[in-house]
């Protein structure tokens, strides 16, 4: 009897242990399956926790290439005021990169503790990131990762690490160094000018994809026996010439296009229009583009709509607005030229029009059908010129014509969430890096508290004292009530 009871207990116990073990194993398997098929939702306000589309595109390219990439991020200096933010920003970034790629391996190294790794990599500075792919290596310094903005109470630290790492990926991905020439000598926008009307910030954005912006002056060109667009030109940018380009120079540009080159031509309302646009089947009517849908508080800044072009597809998908300044209308000629495929890139809403002066109300132009052109009005068009046009002898030439040159300046680059992406994607399309076209993002910044010394005492009392005291009083009340019963 006792034996059979023991047997029963043994059987029931064994069964219970087996079932429990199986349930635990099943739970572990469920977790591992979920870990392999992760779905992540970023609920933060600025969506700053997941990688930017641009970085994801570059990671996908690295994954396709297959060879491993090693990222070693070194900590900030212990005890320094901003080290916590710096370390946390770097840790978050490397964690996301590790999660998003099959080939990227990440390490976060405490520079004070792990001197050996630092010595091996020859790193002596805090908050440094080393990106390695095979023998190639890019070092990203603290000043490239973080940027101090503002002053006084408004002072903050922006984290530019993701853009810097994405730039390093571009530099390490095959040989993708491209030179984009900007024509100068006719009062055009200058890549070396750092003010709002310059291109210095644009040059920095282009560097993200290892594109180099160089000046091209046909008159002072000494490195060529005869003036010409250099052979290493991936694209040529003609940004708002203030005087007409001489016919001889236009011929040089057409000769470059004939070889399958790519040209960006940007004008503003009232500035000289290169006559070669006529040969490319592009018309720039007089007037400026306006829309009832305006960027507040500017009366001359219509909110452009994206048409279905590769340059703006991702911007349209992410609902990222590109802000234009006063823009000239840009239209394909009718009938269309043979061998030239034109696509509208930016245009106004149906409420837009081509304004040619007339009445103004509250500082805003009004649509007057007798003098203005009806909308929607296009502000940028992209052309693909084939040999059927008679203009191109080799391959297909790409041309982007923008009615707003300011769009490419430092001043407008950060004006709208989509501006820097639009500029970079324009150049990516022109040089044929279509697979790189994506949305680039803004730097992540820390949300700081504005606390004075007096506030600290108040916060200490509120955080440490108020809650516990109230709860203890409530508990004492309950205890007293129960004793009184």
């Amino acid at each position: 009897m006792a034996m059979s009871q023991r047997k029963r207990r043994f059987a029931a116990g064994g069964n219970a242990i087996l079932v429990s073990a199986l349930v635990v194993v099943a739970a572990c398997v469920a977790y591992l399956i979920a870990d392999l098929n992760r779905v992540r939702v970023d609920l933060s306000a600025d969506q700053g926790s997941v990688l930017l589309s641009d970085t994801r595109t570059k990671l996908a390219m690295l994954d396709r290439a297959g060879s491993p990439v090693m990222i070693t991020a070194f900590s900030g200096q212990r005890g320094k005021k901003e080290s916590y933010f710096k370390d946390r920003a770097l840790l978050d970034l490397v964690e996301e990169l590790d999660f998003a790629s099959q080939v990227v391996e990440v390490h976060f190294v405490d520079l004070d503790k792990d001197r050996l790794t630092a010595e091996k990599l020859g790193v002596t500075d805090y908050s440094t990131v080393v990106v390695q792919r095979g023998e190639a290596r890019v070092d990203i310094k603290d000043r490239e990762l973080f940027r101090r903005v503002g002053s006084g109470a408004e002072r903050r630290l922006d984290f530019l690490g993701e853009q810097a790492v994405a730039r390093a990926f571009a530099q390490l991905t095959a040989d993708n160094h491209r030179v984009v020439y900007t024509l100068v000598g006719h009062g055009e926008l200058d890549p070396q000018t750092q003010d709002l009307g310059g291109l210095s910030e644009v040059a920095a954005v282009l560097e993200q994809d290892d594109y180099e912006l160089k000046r091209l002056d046909f008159v002072r060109q000494t490195d060529q026996p005869v003036p010409r667009v250099p052979d290493d030109a991936a694209a040529l940018a003609i940004l708002r010439p203030k005087v007409p380009i001489p016919p001889l120079e236009e011929d040089l540009i057409l000769a470059y296009l004939a070889g399958g080159g790519s040209v960006l031509i940007a004008v503003d309302p009232g500035t000289p229009v290169p006559s070669l646009l006529g040969r490319l089947g592009v018309v720039i009517p007089s007037g400026r583009v306006l829309d009832k849908l305006l960027v507040f508080p500017y009366p001359d800044r219509p909110v452009p709509r994206y048409k279905g072009h590769r340059i703006t597809k991702d911007l349209a998908d992410d609902s990222m607005v590109t802000v234009v300044s006063s823009a000239a209308p840009v239209q394909p000629s009718v009938p269309a030229r043979e061998g030239i495929r034109s696509s509208i890139v930016l245009e106004t809403s149906r409420d837009g029009w081509i304004d040619r002066g007339g009445e103004v109300k509250n500082g805003q132009g009004l649509f007057e059908p007798e003098i203005d052109g009806a909308g929607p009005a296009s502000m940028a068009i992209a052309l693909e010129v084939s040999s059927d046009s008679g203009l191109v002898k080799k391959g297909t030439a790409r041309v982007l014509v923008s009615g707003d040159a300011d769009l490419f300046t430092n001043g407008l680059l950060t004006e709208g969430p989509g501006n820097s992406s639009f500029v970079l994607n324009s150049f990516r399309w022109l040089v044929g890096d279509d697979d790189r076209i994506s949305v680039v993002g803004k730097p992540a910044s820390v949300r700081r508290l504005a606390i004075s010394a007096e506030d600290i005492d108040q916060i200490r009392w509120l955080a440490l004292g108020l809650g516990p005291i109230l709860v203890l009083l409530l508990g004492a009340g309950v205890w007293a009530a129960r004793r009184g019963r």
């Binding site: 635990v24 469920a30 992540r40 609920l43 933060s44 200490r460 809650g467």
Partner: protein
Amino acid sequence: MRGILTIWKKELRVYAVNPTAYAFLAVFLFLSGLFFFLGITLTGEASLRVLASNLAIAELFILPMLTMRHFAEERRQGTLEMLLTSPLSPFSLVIGKWLASLTLCALMFLGTAILPLILAHYGDPDWGVVATTYLGLLLVAGAFCAAGLFSSSLLDDQLAAGLLGIVMLLPFWLVSRAEALVGDELAERVSAFGVLNHLEGFGRGIVDSADVTYFAALTFCFLFLTFRALESRRWR
């Protein structure tokens, strides 16, 4: 379902009249305030990230102590046999008690609502991140309460049950810091089972299906083991 609701109400009533629960709540709020204060004075950031990781560790010690009495006390008073022979199923018993503990945790977190309000007064916190931080803490609380219930179902002595709960949960904290003890590769593998690693994403506003599954699996395992432990009384 009615059984679960009955147990849930009964347990909440016990908590409401038990001065110990108030003492734990006061300690919890004090620790929350302390971690919050240290966090904002050290970082100057309008964020609850420092609070969340430290509070998860505090939960590891507080919650087994809060749940230790559930079955151990019933057993000591001799009411467990009554409950097990009543029309209530062991499943209702376990889930009801677990839900009551979780409700108390939710009330604890509600008590810390003043902390994000302080952030809002002196800065501009990201409310999405605040919400996910609390969601993460609640998931941690769910798993730890389940572990506390399991330890309580194993032992007759309340204090021993509480200590066993802490000992059971300690590895889930320690593996999060495995890189300090073992090599990089091994640390990477074992730290996947660490609580803090899975809480980290919530502190950044990310809700990751793997993290949610981890906490759900942990909770389910402990609740299932509690259920089996209670059932074992039938054949032991």
